[in-house]
């Protein structure tokens, strides 16, 4: 089989048509130094040597334990059945397993995924998943702009900074304005949001629990949003929905978020998937694939891709989104995981995660650390006496991986986000409290570690 379909004659013909002498001439704009650089790749290794080399590299990895890192991805318990079922070769080897009606197993799993996400969020329509939480936030904003035909998006800074950054990248070329609303204390103020609202606003985007871990007053924010005819977009932690009010209960039009916490590990911050569920009224505007249930010619239950006329392989430039793929395997992990845990298991997971986080906060406070108090879920902020990145480094020296730095833009000074999950054991809590107390207390002795310039730089960032 020829993997390169172009013959030398084809290539010559194409070059002639576009009026270029050679393929190299196509790259003439590239600096000469980058043309065929001398890449220093060592000679090949035999299998034994290669395995040893890889083992050496792998041994350098430090695997965080105890679920103390938050800020977007978190470690949660993944029962063995989850990877066992999700990694069946029938699931893993299919590249784009959408050939309608052929891949019934995967279509059914996706249908079940959609059903579970609809149940968790309370919103009836789910797509087959998206790339990650950030892209789902951006796509939700685009959806709101299409639906309302308005071109301004209001977003709370309680939404993950990376999600806001991705959204800004998506919206910039489309001339959609973004109004960021800063947190008051630790949460989004309905009054401040209301001041930003007008009949040019397509949507208001609020994250709950917010990036810092605290709970937002979603019902009043949703109400204020609807008063100006805009859509309310809830960015949610799906695991939290096992115990918190669902987006549907407080009137959200769109629920999006990152699904990593549902049965996916935290390797390199992922792999992850995004989800999106919407009200019936927004069905036609939903980006991405949707699997539907139907019956075949013999009257048997079957699954198909449905409502494809929204999508770009049919609608071309007028498609609702250029998304034509999703993170199927990560979403499948979540599906198996949710099925394995069941509704009660999810409640227990979420509850023990909340309990561990509150125990951690109480013990930190008892050791005179400055926990920022507010209603939080399983993450919260601690102010520190030294720059957050130093705290994180010093904790790592104690073999504790915790402390996501809080950006100076939040105006909280030096601060870190801490998390706890059902994986957090008493020892993890005691070790973290001891280490953090020591690091924070030793500030005077180690003042020289932090030059004045660096402090100023952080403060004015």
């Amino acid at each position: 089989m020829h993997y390169l379909p172009h013959t030398p004659e084809d290539i010559a013909h194409m070059l002639e048509v576009i009026g270029v002498d050679s393929i190299d001439a196509l790259f003439a704009d590239m600096p000469q130094a980058l043309h065929n650089p001398n890449i220093n790749v060592p000679a090949g290794l035999d299998e034994v040597s290669l395995l040893n080399h890889l083992r050496d590299l792998a041994a350098k990895n430090q695997t965080p334990t105890g679920g103390l890192l938050g800020g977007g991805t978190r470690q949660h318990f993944i029962p063995s059945v989850t990877p066992h079922l999700a990694m069946q070769s029938e699931f893993v080897t299919a590249y784009t397993p959408y050939q309608p009606e052929v891949a019934q197993g995967l279509l059914q799993a996706t249908f079940e995924y959609q059903s579970m996400m609809a149940e968790l969020t309370g919103l009836p329509i789910s797509n087959a998943s998206m790339y990650d939480g950030a892209s789902s936030v951006a796509e939700a904003a685009l959806l709101a702009v299409r639906q309302t035909k308005r071109k301004r998006v209001v977003v709370s800074t309680g939404v993950h900074p990376e999600a806001r950054e991705v959204m800004a990248t998506y919206l910039k070329p489309l001339d959609i304005a973004i109004s960021e609303v800063n947190l008051e204390q630790l949460t989004t103020s309905t009054d401040v949001i209301s001041n930003e609202l007008g009949d040019d606003v397509a949507c208001v985007i609020v994250q709950n629990p917010n990036f810092l871990g605290y709970l937002e007053t979603m019902p009043t924010l949703a109400e204020a949003t609807h008063d100006v005819g805009a859509l309310f977009i809830a960015v949610v932690d799906p695991l939290s929905l096992a115990v918190l009010a669902s987006p549907a209960e407080y009137g959200a039009d769109i629920a999006v978020g990152d699904g990593q916490v549902l049965g996916n590990p935290t390797n390199f911050g992922g792999p992850s998937f995004g989800f999106m569920t919407v009200t019936d009224a927004l069905l036609r505007q939903l980006p991405g694939r949707i699997v539907g249930e139907t019956t075949d010619v013999d009257g048997k239950r079957a699954f198909v891709l449905t409502l494809q006329a929204r999508e770009q392989h049919i609608r071309r430039s007028k498609a609702k989104s250029n998304i034509c793929s999703n993170h199927q395997l990560a979403a499948l992990m979540a599906t198996v995981n949710m099925a394995a845990l069941g509704p009660q298991g999810l409640v227990e997971l979420a509850t023990s995660s909340v309990r561990a986080a509150h125990t951690l906060a109480n013990k930190l406070e008892a050791s005179s650390l400055n926990v920022l108090r507010g209603t939080f879920f399983n993450e919260f902020v601690v102010q520190t006496n030294r720059p957050a990145t130093d705290v994180r480094r010093l904790l790592a020296e104690h073999n504790i991986h915790a402390g996501v730095p809080v950006s100076p833009s939040y105006g909280l000074g030096d601060a870190i986000i801490l998390a706890a999950t059902e994986l957090t054991q008493d020892d993890d809590i005691i070790n973290l409290v001891d280490a953090l107390s020591e690091i924070d207390a030793n500030i005077d002795a180690n003042q020289v570690d932090t030059p004045v310039e660096k402090v100023l730089e952080v403060a004015h960032d």
């Binding site: 036609r284 006329a309 049919i314 609608r315 007028k318």
Partner: protein, 127 residues
């Protein structure tokens, strides 16, 4: 295939029924048959100003999605909201309950550039 003689047509498969300075617009029997089962119709909004040839509505069938073009310039005065819940009317009664929208014309001379049933039949046959 039915092509009523009292209607005017565009070669983009819209029919227009003229009533004073208002036209009622839908898609032809030929068009609905070519599309297959219609599952959704995206209509313009009442009050929209449209120009001849603008893409102002979309018909989705199980197979495809097709743009519907304004057969003449003017203002949308009425849309057939019943199609939101019963899009199949486009298949069942393309010249009746399957109508889509009404336009109050801003330039009556544009009616002269529409084609009659016999000419439209030739267009359809050529496709």
């Amino acid at each position: 295939m039915e092509t009523p003689e009292h209607l005017k047509y565009r070669d983009t498969h819209e029919w227009s029924k003229v009533d004073g300075d208002v036209i009622t617009v839908g898609i032809t029997d030929f068009a609905q048959d070519a599309l297959g089962d219609v599952v959704f119709v995206e209509l313009p909004e009442v009050g929209d100003e449209v120009a001849l040839g603008d893409s102002i509505a979309v018909v989705e069938s199980v197979k495809t999605a097709s743009d519907i073009y304004a057969p003449a310039s003017g203002e949308i005065t009425e849309v057939n909201s019943a199609l939101e819940s019963s899009p199949e009317q486009v298949n069942e009664a393309p010249y009746g309950d399957g109508w889509m929208f009404k336009i109050r014309l801003s330039d009556l001379s544009q009616l002269d550039t529409m084609i009659d049933a016999a000419t439209y039949d030739d267009v359809a046959e050529a496709e």
